[in-house]
């Protein structure tokens, strides 16, 4: 089945599922997969830190990287995933042109992600981050394949 992951959303899938998220601009797309348990999760987080709007974070932890990433891993463990087998990939975190730091939300999303992963001894197997393109992700939970589309181009991540 196809599951669309909206902005500020986390979805899990099993064998036979396709997790899809569109229009990753500055947002982070994080795809994590357990090839043995055949379970995967896709997070589309908008902003780096939940402290900017704690009320919103309580209602929707997937909106923020610092609350969405732990939620993703815990949800996977609940579905039988095992930490040592997980394959993690990241996409998105783009920024507008120029050097205007105020608008570098994508860069901050990526920094918070890396800090969290580093603290928890998780390495990214693959990533396609930064730049000015909008990205779409198709995550096939049967095979673990993550397909990245930008403009007219498609490739495996």
């Amino acid at each position: 089945m196809n599951h669309i992951v909206n902005v500020g959303d986390l979805k899990l899938g099993g064998n036979g599922d396709l997790l899809v998220t569109h229009a990753l601009g500055s947002c982070l797309g994080l795809m994590v997969y357990d090839p043995v348990a055949k379970v995967g999760a896709l997070l589309h987080a908008m902003l780096p830190l939940s402290s900017i709007n704690p009320q919103k974070a309580q209602a929707n932890p997937a909106m923020f990287v610092d609350t969405g990433v732990p939620l993703l891993f815990h949800s996977l463990y609940e579905r039988g995933a095992v930490k040592g087998r997980l394959v993690s990939k990241a996409a998105g975190c783009g920024n507008p042109m120029g050097k205007n730091e105020t608008f570098k939300i994508g860069e901050r999303n990526y920094t918070v992600l890396k800090k969290l992963l580093w603290k928890n001894n998780v390495l990214l197997e693959a990533e396609d981050v930064g730049g000015t393109n909008s990205r779409t992700i198709h995550f096939n939970v049967t095979s673990g394949e993550v397909t990245l589309s930008t403009g007219g181009d498609k490739r495996l991540l």
Partner: protein, 281 residues
Amino acid sequence: MMLKEHPIGAQVEKFPSMPGAAVKLLALVDEPGVSVPQIESILRQDPGLTANLLRLANSAYFGIPSKVGSVRQAVILLGLKRVVQMVIATCTSAIMDRTVPGYDLPAGELWRHSLAVSVAAEGLVRELKLDAAAEIFTAALLHDIGKIVLGQFVQDDYAKIALALEQGLAFETAESIVLGINHAEIGAQVLSKWSLPEGIVHAVRWHHEPEKAERTDPMLDVVHVANMLCLMIGIGVGRDGLNYLPSPVVTKRLGLTTSHLEKVASQTLQWASELSQALAA
């Protein structure tokens, strides 16, 4: 300026005109002593309009606790300016709901973007405690209307535009170089033909290049920022991606910080969906 004989200019000429009721209401906004019956009689010409207006007035976005049941109540509770904004939104949703080629926006996406930029702009005005004109809602709502005219031309010449982007140019600059005009300028021409207030036309014309505008205006600055923000959070971001330049001058002029942006971003989706549900019902 684009000649009428030019294919793009011809499309501007052919672009649908704004519905009569909206034009008449707009003309009333600045007249002193406008009466509610005058407004009611204009809206009565189009029965769907009143129904849509009331649905919007009752949407969660405005947070009016009691039910708005008549045009009179809507004008009293929301004010005439808001009512006119809602009428314009109702009248333009059908035009802006279409698929937009070139920018690769599926049906509904440009409209979703337009609503999101409107509520984000109003959110920024509150967050930054700015004194911006009430028309900011409409300026934000219609800022990308030129994309509808230019989309097919962007698609036809995309290879050339892509080459210009590879040189590090912003998308609207690539449009200007390849097509002779960009979507912001086209939008301004359409809205000028619709006789919208000059401030709105000005904000739409310079929404990507606020530093080139002949005068400064908080409405323009905020539309520039709100548009960038909504593209970044993936609402209405198409093939043009984030190939735009947020102005450092505007950032400084507004006193804009990261936390202003992120605070507004965290609420924009909810505000936009509250409004769009009322329009889609």
